[in-house]
Symmetry: C2
């Protein structure tokens, strides 16, 4: 499903640049500006600086005079509004709304996210055209979300709703030690702890069960079992040197 971000009457060039970056990092690149304060906003220094490399979004961006032009080809329009209105489309949190949309990608069409000006938000008449008013849940005592921050959250949620990107774990997957290896480790430690005089075999109390629980909770890898056995070995050797 094609996705478009529409900024209406945006004042700050920095916000346009930051919006481009926030979109790009989530893989979106269709930006339309309706009557921005600065006609040359796409080429202003602050815009380019805050876009921080997301230049293709700025290059592709269109500036238009009316919301009609901006909505060309769109089929599902999401207003963003911090203050609920007493008429208009239902207000929903982004995650909740995206979860109940029909599966994407089959029917074509376009998803548009609309953001009003920094000072005044969206006009009622623009909100009325939308299918839903998305409201990012914020602290009731401080709802002042930066426009680029709002774009970042919406772009992030929508990307996840579309299937998301993978997070790669480059840490080598370690094999978790099994119960037998833990048992072997414990008996090794038991002997070494006796050797160094920490464990009294006549009054062992709960020391070994405690270590057993600690090792279980840590979900030890095989490699870590080897390290801990090495420590046990060194304990025993140290105790023998001492005596």
């Amino acid at each position: 499903m094609h996705t478009r971000f529409i900024l209406i009457e945006t004042s700050h060039a920095g916000n346009v640049g930051a919006t481009a970056r926030a979109m790009r990092v989530m893989g979106f690149d269709d930006l339309v500006l309706v009557r921005p304060r600065w006609a040359n906003v796409l080429r202003r220094e602050e815009t380019i600086q805050r876009a921080s490399g997301a230049l293709n979004v700025l290059e592709n961006a269109r500036i238009v005079d009316t919301l009609d032009e901006a909505l060309d080809g769109m089929t599902h329009m999401c207003a963003t509004a911090m203050t609920p209105r007493d008429f208009g489309p239902p207000t929903r949190a982004p995650r909740e709304h995206f979860a109940q949309l029909p599966a994407q990608g089959d029917a074509g069409g376009g998803m548009a996210f609309l953001f009003g000006s920094e000072r005044f938000g969206m006009k009622n008449e623009d909100v009325y055209r939308c299918n839903v008013a998305l409201s990012i849940p914020t602290d009731p005592n401080f709802g002042s979300l930066n426009i680029a921050g709002a774009v970042q959250v919406i772009a992030y949620e929508w990307r996840l709703a579309l299937g998301g990107y993978a997070v790669q774990d480059a840490v080598a997957t370690s094999v978790q030690a099994d119960a037998a290896q833990i048992a072997g480790l414990l008996s090794h430690w038991q002997q070494s702890l006796i050797d160094i005089g920490f464990l009294d075999p006549q009054a062992p109390k709960k020391l070994m069960p405690r270590l057993n629980q600690l090792f279980n909770r840590a979900a030890l890898s095989e490699e870590e079992v080897h390290i801990l056995r090495g420590i046990a070995k060194a304990m025993t050797q140290a105790s023998q040197r001492k005596s």
Copy 2:
């Protein structure tokens, strides 16, 4: 569970201000800066401007020399890292990680989110101290997420994991029309469509079932049924005036 955001060696004052705002809007106010580039960063003009009213976060913020001081009292440390490392804690997406944490709020303790410098990210040795490396899933071709954008996404996800804020729908809840009301509406329309000559009762084709499906899909409210019946009535009246 107490939550702290820690910025390590942050260069740009604007990012400190935007971070304060991003935290505040999600109800967090504990910010610690480790060796920021500007000693007076909490009072710089750009910081205050970008904080946009989240001044209590800046007022509460501490500046420290070492990560040790910043981590005071914290029990679960989350690194944020865009590039996976070949050693260290597991890399996970924020939502996935938060979902598998034990229920919050009972055991006390503190959750710390660590963010490295804009240019170099987090040092390996700092990442190694953490329980997890959080990675926000981004476009593989453009992973350059602004630090305040990253704070916004993490703060948003973590707030939702902690139970979230309500989104209020001020739109008066409308009562959905039931099947009988829809059936009444349809027979009213059927007559009016005959009256205006659009529906041929001898060859009705699938017009009424189509309208029935459209009305069902629209999940009409009782009020909307009244409006549509008013239209039907006006259609009939108009047809009588004509003849």
